[in-house]
């Protein structure tokens, strides 16, 4: 109990943020995994990291412009101080999504081919951007790029919370359209629902969720929580509501438990969260194999 008390005292936003980050990834992951577009998650996390690396080049002084417009002192404003990496992470992910959305019903390009290309290009760009960055050591930037659950502060937490609420509301309000186009886009189109538009909306929210989670908690955590909790949900859920419930439950419960273990065992929090959710997946899979 003392450790939990200590954790909440030292890292209150990290604990709460890990719940939100796990939840949003697991929720979006149900759609991504069922669309068999898992590689999209990998490409988006890498594009987000490349976006953050780009911000370190300081080619565009966005923070300066914004500070001027809103008349604020960047040094004493955490939101503006952290704006550029999050903005470019999001921008790169959205570019990735826009390119991917053009592959819908493409005759000459496969989705896998496009995603694979974006994946390696993002990694290559990240390396180039870091090498050309004037601000710090390569290893130092690499560690910043990777994000860390324990670095989640109030700004990151509220940004994640806002994105989660907006995403959840959009998926709730437009569930008819999003359900139909992710299940069977051709028929949805034939029945008068603009699949191209709704798939773009879907992928934009996936891009937004993944890029911000990647920025705040790291690419390994974001990618793992996009796939593993939803795979557990699909394994166990007999109804669509159960799939979402189980995925969201696993996505939001395992990360704070991982922080606890990481804290007492002196492990890195992100990889511990990934290892723990994989153990949950393994137990679920074996139990399903044995008992059904």
């Amino acid at each position: 109990m003392e450790v939990i008390h200590q954790l909440f005292e030292i890292f209150p936003y990290a604990v709460l943020g890990s719940i939100i980050a796990g939840f949003i990834c697991a929720f979006l992951g149900v759609f991504v995994v069922s669309q068999r577009a898992v590689f999209l998650g990998a490409s988006l996390t890498q594009a987000s990291v490349a976006g953050v690396a780009f911000s370190f080049l300081h080619l565009i002084n966005l923070e300066g412009y914004l500070a001027k417009i809103f008349n604020v002192d960047i040094e004493h404003n955490t939101f503006f101080h952290n704006f550029e990496p999050a903005f470019f992470s999001l921008a790169f992910a959205i570019i990735c999504v826009l390119i991917f959305s053009q592959t819908y019903r493409q005759k000459y390009l496969t989705q896998d081919g496009v995603l694979g290309t974006m994946f390696v290009i993002a990694i290559a760009l990240r390396i180039i951007f870091i090498q050309k960055s004037p601000v710090a050591e390569v290893s130092e930037i690499e560690s910043i790029l990777k994000g860390d659950i324990l670095f989640i502060g109030a700004t990151q937490f509220y940004t994640l919370l806002a994105i989660t609420i907006i995403t959840f509301l959009v998926f709730l309000i437009f569930q008819k359209q999003l359900k139909f186009v992710t299940f069977d886009p051709d028929t949805a189109m034939a029945h008068g629902i603009n699949s191209r538009f709704w798939l773009l909306i879907f992928y934009l929210f996936v891009g937004m969720g993944i890029s911000l989670t990647t920025r705040f908690v790291g690419d390994v955590f974001a990618f793992a929580y996009l796939i593993i909790p939803s795979s557990i949900g699909i394994l166990l859920g007999k109804k669509i509501s159960q799939v979402f419930f189980i995925s969201a439950l696993v996505g939001s419960v395992v990360p704070p438990i991982s922080i606890y273990f990481a804290f007492i065992l002196d492990f890195s929090s992100g990889p511990t969260a990934v290892a723990l959710v994989f153990i949950v997946f393994l137990i679920t899979y074996l139990a399903k194999k044995i008992f059904t």
Binding site: S34, D184, D186, T187, H191, G237, I240, Q242
Partner: protein
């Protein structure tokens, strides 16, 4: 003479600027039962996508005033990973009619139940779509297409990969939908024997060439040779077409 629902005038179809078939002119009339048949890669799916409005024609005019299509895709294009219930899947057919923010009303539920009954799967209502057999899945997709209350029902390779009893029972259902419910039906298949005995109009497609008309006019050994580049024997016994490949000796 039944009224004209769709008219193609000198239409070229294809992807981008690359034409697959040029100069397509034909009409689809009310209560037609049209079979679109041709070898793999002949442009059947491209024609279907153009007909549905999912693909723009490269050239020519297609006149179709506010036609409501009920579309039954090939089963393997539907993602079956999430456990949507049969009811959920059929209700999707009502979505486009509810408005952007609308929720299913009692009226929609009644129509869905009626469609499930119509195709004989009302007892599967709460079962998960991904746990069904091929034939049951196809019936679910047909029920969903009927839930749109369509003027034209379009089926893309509906009997693909089915066992023999499901195969014939599905063809019976499609015939019944045409004959008893007076639906205009378009069925796409690469199996000519599948459709020849149920349709009244036939379109034979091959790359850059097509023929369309009443089945009696179109289903000839000469036309089949042009389409498939091999010899066939066509015979009519007890009002049933028998089509077989002629062996080369």
């Amino acid at each position: 003479m039944n009224s004209e629902l769709i008219k193609f005038s000198d239409v070229t179809i294809g992807y981008g600027k690359k034409p697959i078939i040029e100069g397509i002119s034909f009409s689809i009339n009310e209560n037609d039962f049209l079979g679109i048949v041709g070898p793999n890669g002949s442009g059947k799916t491209t024609l279907l996508k153009t007909l549905l409005g999912n693909l723009k024609p490269i050239k020519g005019d297609i006149v179709k005033d506010k036609i409501q299509f009920g579309y039954v895709p090939q089963r393997d294009v539907v993602q079956p990973l999430l456990p949507y219930s049969v009811y959920d899947v059929v209700m999707m057919g009502r979505y486009s009619l509810m408005g952007i923010l609308g929720k299913p009303q009692k009226y929609d539920v009644d129509i869905v139940n009626e469609c499930l009954k119509h195709v004989g799967i009302e007892e599967l209502r709460n079962q998960s779509y991904n746990s069904l057999s091929g034939g049951q899945r196809q019936r679910t997709l047909i029920a969903r297409a009927l839930a749109v209350q369509p003027q034209i029902l379009i089926l893309d390779e509906p009997t693909n990969g089915m066992d023999t009893p499901s195969h014939y029972s599905l063809l019976d259902l499609i015939t019944q939908l045409h004959d008893e419910s007076k639906l205009t039906v378009i069925i796409v298949s690469h199996l000519l024997t599948d459709v020849a005995n149920i349709i009244n109009r036939l379109m034979l497609l091959e790359k850059n060439h097509f023929q369309v008309g009443n089945i009696e006019e179109i289903l000839s050994e000469d036309n089949l040779k042009k389409t498939y580049s091999s010899d066939f024997t066509v015979a009519k016994i007890n009002n049933e077409y028998l089509i077989s490949s002629r062996r080369k000796n």
